[in-house]
Amino acid sequence: MEVDVRVFATLRRYMPEQGIGEALRLDVQDGATLGRICDQLGIPRQEIKIVMQNGLQVDFDTPAEPDARIAYIPAVGGG
């Protein structure tokens, strides 16, 4: 199955080909967890503060849904 993966801010260096906010269309094993997918992309889990699937916060153990919009996010804040 395929998913769209986005990374932001300091994590963009792990997907340098993608423009800002641009998704990488990725072929993953059916039912792969979001932790597995970031491992596959070489993004260190300790640099990821938030994992989102379709706009909802989930965790590394959550299985990806087909065509999911997945985002890995580092420490952010502001206001």
Binding site: I20, G21, M52, G55, R69, A75, V76, G78, G79
Partner: protein, 584 residues
């Protein structure tokens, strides 16, 4: 030397230095501005009339040596925008300089009998009143420049632009930054109009030769500030090249968009297709590509977070500083505009004319919904700032902010609480921040109880943004801790590291205890914050506010917000819990 209150009376042009009375002695920053407003301002007074006062107070530690990121000034008054008490705080040069003159607060009261305008110069030798007629109608860029030419020692310049002179309710108070640009604002709540109503165009502060801040227990202070510094430098968000330093507050643009909570086209959607183009990552890219401007800019001396930026245009000329997340939301996504150069140009107008960027952008969005122009019309939006600059009748309506403009256009979708428009987090997608908007003593204000930290950023714990459970308590705890931090003079962004690193929290309290000689620890932060909230809440009650005012606008309860298609469903009883303790 003990701190003094500097009382400036514009009716008889007098200035007196008073001993600080016992009842105010323990306060600084927001705690002090709110205590003074609570004691001295009639809650039912007209905000632009003779009985309102503008109080300016540096925080407890502002002006001390090496307290990190501690240049915040609190401005307090009864707000002409909300009718509530207001504390709006700003970075820039003013806080440390007022503190180093030994002044705990400046109380600006009265109104000139002759209707004239004045500037006020304060240094170690006292106060001078000067005719400001030559500065009338001038924007803050020129006022700052003139003041640095007129006075030596690169003073702090606190001033209002033409919008403040006209006493419009979206007038902010500008403070110059270390490069003498006017981008640091006590923006929210129309306090620029309160200053204008005192006949004061600018207050210039030169601290040279001042007595400095008295530190009661230097060892404790040093221990505290070291712990705090260490926490700031260790946390992923606030460390050098961390999220805030590298991308500024606009690092949130893509994230809040991803979470479906980014106000878009006058709060009709939580996602904006052009978010990436107005994000912090794009600001950093423009700075790099155009080989001009700066990220990691400090808004005041001694800041070690340095989240500000200086935004360059295509020709490498500087357009504005800073472009914040709030600004990029209000002037960008909420207007359907995905062009950072235009966002920066509108920011420049706000900084020069003297307006809050959040209220200004949200006002343009309301005008778009009202049919004055289309969403996404960036040239049209820029032209509206010219109307505001010229002071045309339309410009004056727009200068009053969202609520007045929405009334002028007959709109129902009005995203305000107590007259103040909502900042960059959609409460239908992030419930805790909605509880803060509804109940804050300030009107819709994210900084007054930033539950976004645990709801989105995973800082200070992790809670589900869509859930209602525990949100009353969460919001109250954040509102109380914030009231304390707003009193310290430290930037509110120290909250991120110290929520995660307990030694940093302790360090903050110890540094305050060291300066003030107070017997407090980290455990006193929330209770002392609640003391401040109590004064503010009681002021508002006496001004006529009730719990029925602690509500979000009706349309949010019935219009589902894409992409999650949720409505505002936090029950009124939950909102009423937040301040139930005030009368217990």
């Amino acid at each position: 030397m003990a701190r003094k209150i500097l009382r400036i009376n514009m009716t008889d042009l007098s200035a007196t230095y008073e001993d600080i009375p016992e009842k105010w002695a323990k306060w600084g920053g927001r705690g002090l501005t709110s205590a003074i407003i609570f004691d001295e301002v009639e809650p039912t007074c007209h905000p632009l009339g003779p009985n309102n006062k503008l109080v300016i107070a540096p925080g407890w530690v502002s002006g001390t040596p090496a307290a990190p990121s501690s240049g915040r000034t609190s401005f307090g008054a009864k707000s002409p925008l909300t009718g509530t008490i207001k504390e709006s705080n700003s970075g820039g040069l003013s806080s440390q300089k007022i503190g180093k003159l030994g002044i705990a607060a400046i109380i600006l009261e009265g109104q000139p009998k002759d209707g004239k305008w004045y500037s006020i110069f304060i240094d170690k030798d006292g106060v001078k009143f000067e005719d400001a007629s030559d500065l009338l109608g001038k924007g803050m860029e020129e006022v700052d420049k003139v003041m640095w030419e007129r006075y030596p020692h690169k003073p702090a310049v606190i001033g209002i632009g033409p919008v403040g002179e006209r006493k419009l309710t979206n007038a902010g108070i500008s403070v110059n930054d270390p490069e003498n640009n006017p981008g640091r604002y006590a923006g929210r709540g129309g306090l620029g109009a309160v200053m204008g109503a005192r006949g004061v165009k600018a207050i210039v502060v030169d601290d040279k030769g001042g007595p400095g801040v008295h530190i009661a227990n230097p060892e404790l202070f040093k221990q505290g500030r070291r712990k705090l510094t260490k926490a700031i430098q260790a946390h992923d968000l606030t460390k050098k090249n961390g999220g805030l330093n590298a991308y500024g507050t606009d690092v949130l643009m893509n994230i809040i968009n991803e979470a479906g909570g980014l106000p878009t086209r006058n709060f009709s959607s939580g996602q904006f297709e052009g978010a990436a183009k107005i994000s912090g990552e794009m600001i950093a890219e423009m700075v790099e590509k155009r080989k001009a401007g700066q990220t990691g800019h400090a808004c005041h001396p001694g800041c070690i977070i340095q989240c500000s930026n200086v935004y360059p245009g295509p020709d490498g000329q500087i357009i504005a500083s800073p472009v914040e997340y709030e600004t990029a939301m209000a002037l960008g996504s909420n207007c359907g505009i995905d062009d950072l150069d235009f966002v920066a140009q509108m920011t420049k107008y706000c900084n020069d004319l003297g307006m809050d960027t959040i209220e200004a952008g949200n006002t343009i969005a309301v005008a778009m919904e009202g049919g004055l122009l289309e969403f996404g019309d960036k040239e049209g939006a820029l032209a509206l700032f010219e109307e505001i600059a010229k002071g045309t009748p339309l410009g004056r309506i727009l200068g009053q902010g969202v609520e007045a403009t929405a009334k002028a256009f007959g709109l129902y979708r009005v995203p305000t609480v107590k007259g103040q428009s909502m900042p960059a987090y959609e409460p239908r997608a992030i419930k805790g921040i909605g509880v803060t908007y509804a109940t804050s003593t300030m009107g819709a204000d994210h900084t007054s109880g930033y539950t976004i930290a645990p709801e989105i950023a995973g800082v200070g714990g992790k809670v589900d943004p869509m859930s209602i459970e525990g949100k009353a308590e969460l919001s109250l705890t954040f509102q109380a801790a914030t009231a304390f931090i707003d009193s310290t003079g430290y930037c509110l962004f120290i909250a991120f590291p110290i929520l995660d690193i307990p030694e940093g929290w302790e360090g903050m309290a110890e540094s305050v205890a060291g300066v003030m000689g107070m017997d407090i620890t980290g455990a006193d932060v929330v209770p002392m914050g609640k003391e401040i909230l109590r004064m503010e809440r009681l002021f508002n009650e006496r001004a006529g506010f009730t719990k029925e005012d602690d509500r979000l606008p009706e349309f949010m309860r019935t219009e589902p917000l894409p992409p999650h298609n949720t409505v505002w469903d936090v029950p009124d009883e939950v909102l009423d819990e937040v301040y139930a303790w005030v009368h217990e």
